[in-house]
């Protein structure tokens, strides 16, 4: 019985921590982009204010499916959180978590998609269709990389892959397979919907895409979902390529570095059109990933 | 030489008749000419059949007042019996053919076979 309470406590703690960290990262990102564009930009804690404001305002809904979508999105993402080791905190180190995480992220995006399209706004459905197309683009190289890693280390759990890189930083996957790390980095940008690959929430073309209809607490929940997704993807990248970390502080520091690099990298490029985005993902990243995989298999 | 001629004249003649009839059927356009050449082929075959049964210097296979006993040399009677029936058949077919030609003439009002192509492929 105590164990369950301890579990639930740990459960809630991790959720709150990653929400806060995620929002912080979003604030930092806004700051960096502003600095690159020679302006001051909003204070780093701005996302916290936004979330509190949003939960205060009243919102409109378009029926049951709209609410169910928002809840499923946030719920799915929170559930994914517990399969990824954040530093030393690891709730469930079970087999097959790597593939599981990819599919659990899919639940979240499916829930969000269902809710927004349920709102009846055509711009939302256009945004969702673009998101799904782009997902197909970046998911393929990512799975090839995972295929190679699982085959190489003969374990399909994130914890196992992390342990495999223990010892000196030399045998981090970043240095063992630099090409694969680079491809994973590009895919990371795509996954997070950062600048060059953000045609799905293109403000100018389709009125910020899927989130167009959600205001008030719905927008708040979607923001929280965004923040946790950032944390998950970064944590995954750090675990797989930067050898994870003993305690949470180093882990957050590594995530911060990757996040800053990603934002800077992102703010330099204009937006890809959807089919060019897919073509780009399938040309270079997929090619390099396959070469790397062949190298590992043979 | 003589008996060779004698021997082969009948066969040669009938084969020739058949070939002429065949040529007639294949090339003539007029339907009645086709029927005539058909009859020609029939007579050719009948001639050949009768020639088969020929025995030198024997009399016709008919028992009548002149020849009672059957010991005398007869020409082989069987081909002649065959020819009898085949002549009957030939005339029957010819009659039927002419009736059909009349009917076709009513409809197509021409005797030229190449024009009568109501039934294509």
């Amino acid at each position: 019985m105590i164990d369950i309470i301890y579990r639930i406590g740990h459960f809630v703690l991790i959720t709150v921590f990653s929400m806060a960290l995620g929002l912080l990262f979003m604030g930092i990102a806004r700051k960096i982009v502003a600095r690159i564009q020679k302006r001051y930009g909003p204070p780093v804690y701005q996302p916290y204010l936004d979330v509190l404001k949003l939960f205060g305002k009243d919102a409109i809904t378009h029926g049951f499916i709209f609410d169910f979508g928002a809840i499923m999105a946030l719920g799915g993402v929170i559930a994914t959180l517990f399969f990824i080791p954040l530093g030393s905190w690891q709730l469930y180190s079970m087999e097959g978590t790597v593939i599981l995480v990819i599919y659990l992220l899919a639940i979240a995006s499916l829930g969000m998609a269902m809710g927004t399209v349920g709102s009846g706004n055509p711009q939302a459905s256009v945004g969702i269709s673009r998101a799904l197309m782009q997902m197909l683009g970046y998911e393929l190289p990512y799975l090839v990389i995972l295929f190679a890693l699982i085959y190489r280390y003969q374990t399909s759990s994130v914890w196992g892959l992390m342990q495999a890189q223990a010892g000196s930083f030399l045998n981090w996957n970043l240095f063992a397979y630099p090409l694969m790390a680079a491809v994973a980095f590009v895919v990371l940008i795509g996954m997070m919907g950062k600048k060059p690959f953000d045609s799905m929430i293109a403000p100018s073309e389709i009125g910020s895409g899927p989130v167009v209809e959600s205001g008030g607490k719905y927008l708040g929940m979607l923001l929280l979902q965004k923040s946790i997704t950032i944390i998950i993807e970064l944590a995954l990248y750090v675990n797989l390529f930067l050898g994870g970390a003993e305690n949470i502080l180093i882990f957050t520091f590594k995530m911060l570095i990757v996040w800053v690099l990603a934002t800077m990298f992102g703010s330099l490029f204009p937006r890809f059109r959807i089919e060019d985005g897919i073509k780009f993902f399938w040309k270079w990243p997929l090619g390099i990933a396959i070469l790397q995989a062949i190298y590992i298999i043979t | 030489m003589l008996n060779f001629l004698e021997e082969w004249s009948f066969f040669g003649g009938s084969i020739l008749l058949i070939l002429i009839g065949l040529y007639g059927v294949i090339t003539r356009k007029n339907m009645i000419k086709i029927l005539i050449s058909l009859a020609l082929m029939d007579t050719g075959v009948n001639l050949m059949l009768v020639a088969l049964g020929y025995v030198k210097a024997a009399n016709a296979p008919i028992l009548n007042s002149v020849v009672q006993t059957n010991t005398a040399a007869f020409v082989d009677p069987i081909p002649q019996a065959l020819v009898l029936t085949s002549i009957v058949i030939g005339t029957a077919v010819l009659g039927l053919g002419l009736a059909l030609v009349i009917k076709i003439y009513d409809k197509f009002s021409t005797l030229d076979i190449s024009k009568i192509r109501g039934l294509k492929w």
């Binding site: 946030l74 559930a79 087999e95 659990l104 009846g120 089919e275 | -």
Partner: protein, 621 residues
């Protein structure tokens, strides 16, 4: 004793036909009763693998014996057929009110069930062929009872393809019959193993032809789209649920019972897998890719789901062809799961068609408000199809991935990944265009489907989630099959399967997922109440839009993606077959024009020419 499972449905078919003439519901009720009887008696048969039945017939100098026997593999397929036919019969009781051919439907449907059980219990080529032909013929009549003109052409193409393959099968079977003196599988297997590898491989490939056609594998999959798309709405679930599986059953028989793998053991291997079975796996991979790309393009929802069945078949073929224990159990799992969620999707679509009357996606929208249960059934089914964790679809795909990764087949894995990720796309398209988005004015007064159509959907939803959480139920029958076929078994517990490197626990995931969901729900309910607003009251960035028609994004949902594959889809395989038949017609035409020109002279000339030619030929010899 086994024969009454085959001949009771066939006999009932005629009774159903006669009764249905008088009252339209009688046929479907009889089908439901018969399939219920079948399901009960077949499940009672579980475990007794020794029942065999055979009767022989000496027909004009041929001693032929017909053998029927039960084994785990055939038992599973028989139970699946019976289960899916109950659900469809229940569903069609009142979904066929205004269906012109409902008595023909029930007649043929019952005969198909009987012949399918016959196929599955057959242990020799001739019985298999007889029931196979019976099934092909009756399904031909059923498909052509679908949509007006297109169903006819689809059934026509289907019957020619499967009849050609079936005749090739008959020729190979008779060839073996002449060598071994009997049609039975076992004697054929011994003969094939002993025979020279090249010839027996050729024979086995010809024997597997009808199964490749029926399973819709790559080169011969052209009939699937039209047949499923245009078949009557109640028959599509059966067609793509069960009929495709019979092709897979045939492939398993060819691979294992006719010892195809033993024969090709010593041929050149690629990464430890004989090249021929790798070729089959590659065929499966290509089927996945073509099926997915073409599914994304479709505007007609039934055709879209038909293509998705083709691509899911690809998974099963890959699983079987790589011949590893994990691979085989993965494909058997996926086979059962695919049957379940694919028939749910088709039943949900049939309910939508029953209410709206059209299958074109862009003519519908916003049906969630009018048909919530159908939406729920469709949602669970597509979550399973896309392979998202709490449902059974994920488990079978995960096991197949484990099998692929364990042996390191990169290209097959890429095709499998592509298939499953892209399935999110084509699965979401009907969801958003049919159920979500704007509700069209003409569909305002649509009611939910009657109770009898709801029950099958509810049962199927429960089964999806049940097998999603407890895959152990499926695993014990699959292990018996692997044992029977001589493949090592995969160890498992009620809720977890032992993968290549570590066990997979589905119950745990279900709990965590619901925990996350509850946290989000709490967060949602604490916040302020929100005001319900109509569908048209949305942010349209300044434009003033009144009618729902122009406010619903449905037509060419993934246009950018399709543009990438426009040229590939353009030269689809069907025109290859079309040109083939056109040449056949032109050759016939040419001969006809030349020879039968109606001129009497030519006919007379031909007879003389025949005489002259044959005389010359005789003269030379």
């Amino acid at each position: 004793m086994l024969t009454n499972y085959i001949f009771i449905p066939i006999a009932a078919a005629f009774i159903a036909y006669i009764l249905n003439k008088r009252n339209r519901k009688a046929g479907a009720v009889i089908t439901a009763l018969v399939s219920a009887y079948l399901l009960l008696s077949l499940t009672a048969l579980y475990g007794r693998w020794d029942i065999t039945q055979s009767f022989n017939l000496s027909l004009m100098g041929y001693k032929i014996d017909f053998l029927l026997a039960v084994n785990p593999l055939s038992w599973l397929f028989a139970v699946m057929t019976a289960a899916i036919s109950i659900l469809i019969a229940l569903f069609s009781i009142n979904s066929q009110e205004n269906f012109k051919f409902s008595s023909v439907f029930n007649l043929n449907f019952l005969i198909i069930i009987g012949s399918m059980i016959g196929i599955v219990f057959a242990r020799d080529f001739l019985t298999l062929f007889i029931f196979w032909e019976l099934m092909t013929w009756t399904s031909f009549y059923l498909i052509s009872a679908g949509k007006k003109k297109m169903a006819g052409r689809a059934a026509y193409r289907y019957i020619i393809l499967s009849a050609g393959a079936a005749y090739a099968f008959l020729m190979a079977a008779i060839f073996i019959f002449q060598q071994t003196g009997s049609f039975a599988f076992d004697s054929a297997a011994e003969f094939l193993v002993a025979n020279s590898p090249a010839q027996s491989i050729m024979l086995l490939l010809v024997i597997s032809l009808p199964f490749i056609v029926k399973a819709g594998i790559f080169p011969l999959h052209i009939w699937v789209k039209d047949a499923h798309g245009n078949a009557p709405k109640e028959f599509s679930p059966f067609l793509s649920g069960m009929m495709l599986k019979i092709g897979i059953y045939g492939m398993i028989v060819v691979f294992y019972q006719l010892s195809f793998f033993k024969i090709i053991e010593n041929t050149i291997a690629y990464r430890g897998l004989p090249l021929l079975s790798y070729l089959f796996a590659l065929l499966g991979a290509v089927t996945i890719i073509t099926g997915t790309i073409l599914a994304i393009r479709q505007e007609d929802m039934k055709k879209l789901v038909a293509y998705s069945s083709i691509s899911q078949m690809g998974y099963i073929i890959i699983g079987i062809a790589i011949a590893t224990p994990l691979g085989f159990s993965g494909s058997m799992l996926h086979l059962m799961n695919h049957l379940i969620f694919k028939s749910t999707i088709f039943l949900a679509l049939a309910a939508v068609i029953y209410r709206t009357g059209t299958t074109k996606m862009y003519e519908m929208g916003g049906l969630i408000f009018r048909m919530p249960l159908t939406f729920a059934a469709y949602l669970t089914a597509i979550i399973a199809l896309a392979g998202i964790p709490p449902t059974n679809g994920f488990i079978s795909k995960w096991v197949i991935y484990q099998a692929l990764i364990e042996k390191g087949y990169l290209f097959l894995a890429i095709a499998a990944f592509f298939g499953s990720i892209a399935s999110f796309m084509y699965v979401f398209k009907p969801l958003s265009t049919v159920f979500l988005g704007q509700l069209k004015p003409q569909h305002q007064n649509i009611k939910e489907v009657p109770l009898l159509m709801k029950i099958p959907m509810l049962i199927l939803i429960l089964v999806i989630v049940l097998f999603g959480v407890f895959p152990g139920i499926q695993m014990n029958i699959i292990n018996q099959i692997s044992g029977y076929l001589g493949i090592e078994t995969v160890n498992y517990t009620l809720y977890s399967i032992q993968g290549a490197n570590g066990a997979w626990n589905s119950l745990l995931i279900f709990n965590i997922f619901s925990a996350g969901f509850i946290i989000a729900l709490l967060l949602f309910s604490f916040a302020k109440k929100s005001k319900l607003v109509g569908l048209l009251d949305t942010y349209s960035s300044g434009e003033y839009i009144t009618d729902a028609e122009s406010y619903h994004y449905a037509y060419q949902y993934y246009r950018p993606f399709d543009r990438l594959f426009d040229n590939l889809a353009a030269k689809s395989l069907t025109d290859f077959y079309e040109t083939l038949t056109k040449n056949l017609v032109r050759s016939g035409e040419g001969l006809r024009r030349a020879l039968a020109a109606g001129k009497l002279q030519n006919y007379a000339l031909y007879s003389v020419l025949l005489f002259v030619i044959l005389a010359a030929v005789g003269w030379i010899i």
